[in-house]
């Protein structure tokens, strides 16, 4: 059976405020999906809730991986089941070297039964593999000795996320604006890396505003999210339309969702001012 992430009628609130209002989405291993939508439409929320961020409450709906309920699982359990979320805004962990962090992460993800305190994967094996992946991504080896995301530029953080994706080899990966903050060369490199990591070995959900990442990773499906709902799903041509013409047609076609989106963004702006 192909690994399948299935989301049905998902409703999500944060601090009592509804954000996602009935999302339906099915991603199979081997497929590439694009998720596009204006600011504040709920893209990152969807990614974070799939990964199990405790701040987001699921008020209705279901989410399964290969039929297994995900909603009662913690983030680390989901990671061990093969889910990966590349953060739009990664956080720094001062004092913890990226290599040490990754060795721990890779051990857990590859040995989901591992108990706390049991041996990590052998250092030599890990180092060799990390070195290979970093060469592939054209990263300086010194990079792995730096503290996780600490003092990284925006671009470095995104590249560190791709390195982690490459090392953890998930079944389903969500890339949240992994191309923003990267220049054109870096985006090309990132796209190549994703292809090399094995696009066909993963199910990919690519959240992006740009067309570069999709150019190298043409989506099988494009979803448009507005006001916390997926309002349209199409093929690669939908992504192209949105890039060239923006969201005007979508906003007009779905006035309710547009209104909901406006309200969410207004609240966000009001909160930012306050």
């Amino acid at each position: 059976m192909t690994d399948t992430l299935k989301i049905d009628n998902l409703h999500v609130s944060v601090e009592g405020k509804p954000i996602l209002r009935g999302v339906n989405l099915t991603i199979r291993r081997g497929e590439t999906h694009a998720l596009m939508g204006p600011n504040g439409s709920g893209k990152s929320t969807l990614g974070l809730v799939i990964m199990g961020h405790p701040k987001y409450q699921v008020t209705a709906g279901t989410m399964t991986l290969n039929g297994e309920n995900l909603l009662d699982k913690s983030a680390d359990e989901r990671a061990r089941l093969g889910l990966f979320y590349a953060f739009q805004r990664p956080v720094a962990i001062p004092g913890v070297k990226l290599a040490d962090f990754l060795r721990h992460a890779a051990t857990n993800v590859r040995h989901p039964e591992r108990k706390e305190g049991e041996e990590l994967m052998p250092m030599r094996e890990f180092r060799r593999e990390l070195k290979g992946k970093m060469e592939q991504l054209r990263m300086e080896s010194e990079f792995a000795r730096r503290y996780v995301n600490d003092g990284f530029s925006g671009g470095e953080m995104k590249r560190a996320e791709i390195l982690q994706l490459a090392m953890l080899q998930p079944k389903i990966a969500i890339l949240d604006e992994t191309d923003s903050g990267l220049d054109a060369d870096a985006v090309r490199l990132a796209s190549q890396s994703i292809a090399e990591i094995g696009r066909e070995k993963m199910g990919l959900l690519i959240i992006t505003h740009h067309d570069k990442l999709l150019e190298h990773n043409p989506p099988d499906f494009t979803h448009v999210i507005l006001g916390g709902r997926i309002v349209e799903t199409g093929g690669v041509e939908l992504a192209n339309e949105l890039h060239t013409q923006g969201y005007d047609r979508i906003r007009q076609a779905y006035p309710d969702a547009d209104e909901a989106n406006r309200k969410m963004v207004e609240k966000e702006e009001a909160a930012a001012v306050a």
Partner: protein, 453 residues
């Protein structure tokens, strides 16, 4: 408490018996009597005193403990020796945590405030190095000790505890390094007590001109829950151009009351690196004082505190610039679990003539539970214009977003918490140049870290 321990109480009768049994030189008997008198005259600290207002010792009862008189100690029981009886996983494997894989120049140990055993490599003894039990060496090196003991560093009249210590010290350690001698290997001092026991140890370290040494001191109890009483002092006297790396690990059982006065005098162009870790005791009250007395002296202090349960650890530090061109750099980090509490009160004092002072102090606290509490009170007292002094402090919880990030990469909440705690201390571990110490401290702390709640 055990019958083999001395009679309870710190009264006149037991003090006289203590003095009588020790048979020490007259100057020392006199010094002890004077301090005893002073301890009788001094009141217990009042709750409204600045140093004690955050540290409540009302439950401490001195007379539950006794002066170490007589040769017996429960450590003398077979199979109950420091070093081979630690079954408790949460504690260190042996009484000596810091020396794993280290070639030592010498070692000395006190058990229940009595000298246990000492050894020093002959090549260092031949060079005039004196190392071992202060109690024993006072009989052979009395004049050397007299010159330094309570003369320049610790003031016996500071408070009731310093007076009591000066009167009753026992189970002490001495290191004396003559001019131009560099001891390559570290020296190790262990102070161990049994459950309910006392340690009144005095550590005296004297480096003469251009001498160099590394000293590692640690304390131990048989089990983590054990009680006891430590009333101690440390005096470090560094002559011009000497260099000392000093590590001290306070690792008592969690029922031990710990009161300590520690002071270092650093001479011209001498340097002191002092790394301390405090992870044991029920309650600790420590005065740590470094006085830079000669031009160009420098000191770096690295403090690591980890508390859990209801532990209370209070550090009052003073970096005193009494000469020009000196540098001091104090960094303290504490992580607190459960309902534990730390107090850090730091002061940089600069005398009028101490121009070109470079002073730095910082205290960072990481709260691992909403019920833990850290008080951080930095301070400056500067009487000189031409100085650079900076200080800072932070106190915060573990950031839930960091935990989530690590969990999203497959680490459990507990593993994430440990990683974040080890990262928090990394800045200090980076400054510790002795690998065995870095490893031992890191492991001792991580073993204790549970899940962030």
């Amino acid at each position: 408490m055990t019958a083999t321990l001395s009679q309870p109480g710190f009264d006149q009768q037991s003090f006289d018996a203590f003095l009588h049994a020790r048979n020490e030189p007259a100057w020392l008997v006199e010094q002890r009597r004077e301090a005893w008198q002073s301890s009788l005259e001094k009141d217990w600290p009042a709750r409204n005193e600045e140093e004690w207002m955050r540290t409540d010792i009302r439950l401490f009862k001195l007379n539950q403990f006794g002066l170490p008189v007589g040769p017996h100690s429960v450590w003398a029981r077979p199979g109950d020796k420091v070093g081979d009886h630690r079954q408790d996983q949460s504690h260190t494997e042996s009484g000596t945590t810091l020396t794993e894989g280290v070639d030592l120049a010498g070692r000395t140990a006190a058990e229940d405030s009595r000298p246990a055993h000492s050894a020093l490599k002959a090549k260092w003894a031949d060079k005039g190095v004196v190392f071992g039990s202060l109690d024993e060496l006072v009989h052979t090196h009395g004049e050397l000790i007299r010159k330094h003991l309570f003369t320049r560093a610790v003031d016996p009249t500071y408070d009731k505890f310093s007076a009591l210590h000066a009167a009753c010290w026992s189970g002490g350690h001495l290191l004396y390094v003559p001019r131009n001698v560099t001891i390559e290997e570290p020296l190790h001092c262990l102070s161990a007590i049994s459950d309910g026991g006392v340690d009144l140890g005095h550590t005296l370290i004297v480096l003469e001109e251009n001498a160099e040494a590394t000293v590692m001191c640690e304390t131990a109890s048989p089990r983590q829950e054990d009680s006891g009483f430590h009333c101690g002092a440390t005096e470090v006297i560094l002559a011009p151009n000497s260099r000392l790396r000093f590590v001290s690990l306070q690792n008592w059982g969690h029922g031990v009351w710990h009161f300590a006065h520690q002071k270092a005098i650093v001479g011209r162009d001498a340097s002191l690196q002092w790394t301390l870790a405090a992870i044991g005791s029920r309650l600790s009250k420590v005065n740590q004082h470094v006085e830079l007395v000669g031009r160009g002296a420098s000191t770096q202090v690295n403090g690591v505190l980890f508390t859990e349960g209801k532990q209370h650890i209070s550090y009052h530090t003073l970096q005193h610039h009494a000469a020009p061109d000196c540098r001091s750099d104090f960094l303290y980090k504490s992580a607190l679990q459960d309902k534990s509490r730390t107090v850090w009160r730091g002061m940089i004092k600069v005398d009028p003539l101490a121009i070109k002072t470079n002073g730095y102090q910082r205290n960072d606290n990481l709260l691992l539970a909403a019920t833990a509490r850290a008080d951080s009170i930095p301070g400056l007292e500067i009487q000189c214009d031409d100085v650079r002094c900076t200080h800072g402090s932070t106190t915060g919880k573990v950031d839930e977003e960091l935990i989530f990030y690590a969990q999203a990469r497959g680490l459990t909440r507990k593993e994430a918490t440990r990683l974040i705690v080890s990262g928090f201390f990394q800045q200090i571990f980076d400054r510790i140049t002795i690998e065995s110490v870095r490893e031992a401290l890191g492991q001792a702390i991580l073993r204790r870290v549970r899940e962030y709640v």
